[in-house]
Every structure is written in C-alpha cells, then in structure tokens.
Amino acid sequence: MELFLVSDFNVSNFANILRSRSEGALDVHTAPLDQVVPFLGSGGHADADAFVWTRPERISPELRKALDHGVADPVQLLADTDAFADLLIDAASRWRTLHVPLWQLPAETRFGRRELHHSSGVFALLLRMQHQLSERIADTPNIRALNSQRWLQQAGPTAWSEKLWYLTKTPFSNEVFKAAADDLLAGSRIEQGRAIKLIVLDLDDTLWGGIVGDDGWENLQLGGHDATGEAFVDFQRTLKALKERGILLAIASKNEESTALEAIAKHPEMVLRPEDFVTHRINWNDKAGNIADLLQELNLGAQNVLFIDDNPVERSRVKEFLPEVLVPDWPTNKLLYDRTLRSLPVFDLEAISTEDRQRTRLYHEEKQREHAKTSATDVDAWLRSLGMHVTVAPVDDADFARAHQLLNKTNQFNLTTARPTEKELRERLNDPNRPMWSLRVRDRFGDAGLTGLLGLDLTHPEHAVITDLVLSCRVMGRRVEETLLHLADAQARAQGKRSIIARLIPTAKNKPCLSFLESSGWSVAADGPSFTWDLSTTYPLPDTLQLEQRDAPPST
C-alpha cells in the first residue's frame, strides 16, 4: 500500500518508523514540508492513502494569536477550521483514504486560569476547532480521524521534544511516532483480513488469580474487596465487551476440565460464563497443539488469533509453533492486565454488524449442525435435514456495513480478495452494469445472516464476468457455493448473455475457492485459473436447500 505523509512539520522520523514497522508492506512517501494546502489541493492518488498531520496554529492564525497571549477571534477560528475541512473533503474524492490525527497542544503549556474560558481560552478554542472538524468530516467515509491523544499518553512526558523541534522541526519524540504507526498498521492489518476474530485465554492467573486445581474455585482471587480481584473482574468485563463486538473467546488451559468449568459456572464474581466461550481445550496436552486444534474446529486462520497467557514459557511455545498468532508480552503485575488488553491496537472494527454481536451463538449452532452431521448417513441427507433457506437480494444500504466487512475479511472463499474501501464499494453499488447480491442463510438451528456475495460485470455484450464470489467460512461446504453459481447463471441469462467467466486471483489462502471452482463443472482455461460456464445449459440449484429471491434485503 502506498502512503503519503502530508504535514506542516518534519515527518522523516515517522516515515522511517512506518517503513520499519510495516516490514515493507507500506510504500511511504513524504510530501514537501509545510505544503499541506497546495499538495492536497492539487491532486491525489486514487490507490493511495494520505496521512495529514497538522499543527492547529498553522490551520488557524487565530489560535496562534491565543498561544501568544493575544485576543483570538472565535468566528474566524471556526472559519479557518471550515476551510481546512473543505480542503480535506475535496481531497478525499482523489485519495483512497485520508488519515487525520486530531490536533494537540503541548500538555505542559500553561496559559493561566482562563485557558479553558469558552471564548478566549487556548484549550477551549482548540476543543472548538476539534469539534468543528470532527463534525464536518463525519459524513465523508474515507476520512478517518485518529486519536493522537493516545499516542502522546503512550509516549509519556517525553512525547514533545523541544530539542528535535529546534534542530529538525520535528515536534514529537519517536515514541509518539511508534504509537501512531501501530495505530495505522492496526487499521491496515484489518484491511488485509488479519483482524483479531478469536481470543484464546489461559485460566489460572490469567482470567482469575490463583490455581483452581489447588485452591478450589471458592478461593480464587476474583472480585471482592481486593485490588487484584477487582482487576481480574475489570479484565473479564473488557473481554465480555469484546465478545459483544463479535470477537470470539476460547480457553486453552492446563487443568482438569470439570474443575475449571465448575469455577466458570459457579464463582459468583465471574463476569464470563460458559456460554461466553465458543469452545475450549482444558486438558494437559501441549497448549500450542490445542490452539491449532481450536483453529481447525472454528475454521479460522492463525493470523486472526490473539493468545493471552501469564506464563512466558507457554507464550514462547505458541509463538514458536504458531508464528502468525498474535502473542503480546503480558505484564507480571495483574493490575495491568485490563489496560494491556485495552491498549492492543487490533480490535479496531470498522462497523459492528448484527452477525458480529451474535457470532458466539452462531458457532454454538454450528456445533449442533456438526453433531447432526455425524448422525446423518450422507452429506446431502445431512444438508436436507438442516432445512436450509437461502435469501438473495441486491446489496443496498441496509447490507452495506456487513457486505463491506465480508469483502474485507474473507480469505478462504474469495475469488479475487479485492479489498474495497467504503467509498469504492459505494461507487461500485451505484454502477448499474456491476450489480451485487447478498445471500443470507438460515436453517433449523439458527440464522447465519449475510454470509455470501455475488458481483457481476455485465458490460460485455456476450458474457458476464464474476467480479465477486465471496462466502463466509460459516456456511462453506453446505452447497451455498453452488447456489452462488446458480444465481450468477440466472442473472447473466436474464441479461441475454451467452456465458459467464470467473477469473480467480490465487492467494495463499483462497485455495478452497479454487478447489470448488475446479470441481464445479465449469470449464477451466488452459492458461490459468479462469473458469467459464456456457449458458446453453442451466447451472442447477442444489436440491438440498430452498432459494428465495427478493428485490431488497429482508429487514433484520
């Protein structure tokens, strides 16, 4: 990904840190120093991001006046802010995404007792600028405001560097730039389909204080009038909140299963209960092997997993065996657990969908399906026993957040692994020659929600091209794949096309999509993973499910 740093101060150190921390994933450029307005006003790069980091006193000379203990005109200050917002909104149409850190003033600067006075205090004026800017850019989806306050807090008292400022016009120490880089890269991690979807937790001295097998669940350090006990409760509360946002929780613990589960079910101060965990491996086996087993059960990739354990030996073992799993260093001080979890920049979800909030329930339902599968004599009989119902509708505003998320997160069954921005997807959905449909799947065990997408390009007179063929791993292997191809057949046929083409862009992870297409009955091109269906024959709808087509998505 290309990234342009646009600033009114020297960002060379920031550029180096971004290059270093992204390990080559970011191609970082720096715009000419202090040329923010001409640079953003004169052009852009539709495939690149810009990081626009400015000082507020450069945006409004009125704030400069206030900093110099003069009298600022609040009306002009807001007009200057509006002009900057206009510049950003106009530039956003020419860039993929604009990242805009909120403004800061040196925290130790003192401006007397009136510094927060509504119409004349420096900090009050800055707050008004921030508010005005946030409000103005809120409706431009590809402008992302970033919380720079957190970066300064992380850097501590050395966040501002007068020495670097006077020597190089760099206001911040590298600690601030590292925190900013981590925030930006966390967003990039999510766009690359590497968002954390599962947290695997140890139990003893991780979820509670003490060893349940030795101490008994009644004597665990959890809640009560005890500093450490309270800290564990807060840590569990944060985990529960993440679960509500769609992050799955699982347990990997060396314990007697029945003893540990009894503690989770019975301890009166447990915030997390058995139903909050999607699955567990509580035994005396190798923890890394247990996690690999969990991933297989949940059909998740290691890159989507966070592992939390107080034991450095276990952390080291998991890092070595599953290098893609995120294993943060964990503090020895239990009072710091909650803050450590909250500070991890890996949960930056763009939008929380209904499916996210219900994800743990959905996995529990899937377990019931798998149980039914073991008692069915063949796969089709099992599928029929599920009573599957697929609803197809054009993607519209109600579907937008989930469709965007599905396109950006799905790796395994994804024809091209294109990762559109919200802006690109909205443009795409407004193009009548490139329609897109959503698939919702439900069965007798529950509703999996919006789990499939089909996009077509109908511009060629003879053939339709499949631009998007995406299916959540939640419903893979249930012949929804064939349903997607049947839908493509029906839509292309309705437009008078003679054939449909699906060109797969291979990645390290979309082999399931390739394998399906290879066995789908579509003819394979000799020179690459391109598949064609001749519309002289109808691609059949699987007889294991019911298909319902709507003009608009069902209300949820």
Binding site: N10, N13, G24, K163, L164, L167, T168, N174
Partner: protein, 99 residues
C-alpha cells in the same frame, strides 16, 4: 559512576543501535568503535545526527545522572577531527564530562 571513555563508547554504540531499530531494514548499519559517525565520511545524515545527539544527551543523563549539552553548540568546536569515529566521540565526550 565515572563516565570513562570505555563506558561512553558502550553507551554511544547502544544509542546508535537503538536508532537502527527505528530505521527500515535496508538502512540499518553495523556500528563499531571505528565507524565514522560525523564528518565528510560520517554515516549519519543531518536528521540522523540530530536524533543521535538528542539520544546521547538522554542516555548520558539516564546512565550517569548528569546532564550534558550537545545540541546547542557547534560540534566541530568540540571535536576537531574532520571525521569523528564512535571511539573519538566517546573519548571527547568523556573529557567534556570530566572537565
């Protein structure tokens, strides 16, 4: 603790190596006592030099509990050689600190 040339050389190398961590892999360098860091053959550019001097001021204060000012003077008044190596830098800094 006395800021001997040996200790300051160790501190200088540690500061340079810490700076390396903030650079892209292709721009990282190997430093040893003979590496010229300042001057015509010096490996630090102007930004690198500023980062280095600020880093050294902080490192000296942290290690020896004494403040030294390297950023508010012309370095070539302090160091007379054209090219200043790590070893020469540590030697002169030790002299300055003990003066």
């Amino acid at each position: 603790m006395t800021a001997t040339p040996e200790l300051l050389q160790e501190l200088t190398l540690a500061t340079l190596r810490r700076m390396n961590e903030d650079l892209p892999a292709a721009e990282r360098r190997n430093f040893d006592p003979g590496t010229p860091i300042i001057g015509d053959s010096g490996v630090l550019d102007s930004l690198g030099l500023a980062n280095f001097l600020v880093g050294m001021e902080e490192a000296v204060e942290e290690r020896f509990g004494t403040s030294v000012s390297l950023t508010d003077q012309d370095l070539f008044e302090l160091f007379t050689e054209d090219d200043i190596t790590v070893q020469a830098f540590a030697q002169r800094l030790s002299t300055k600190l003990q003066a």
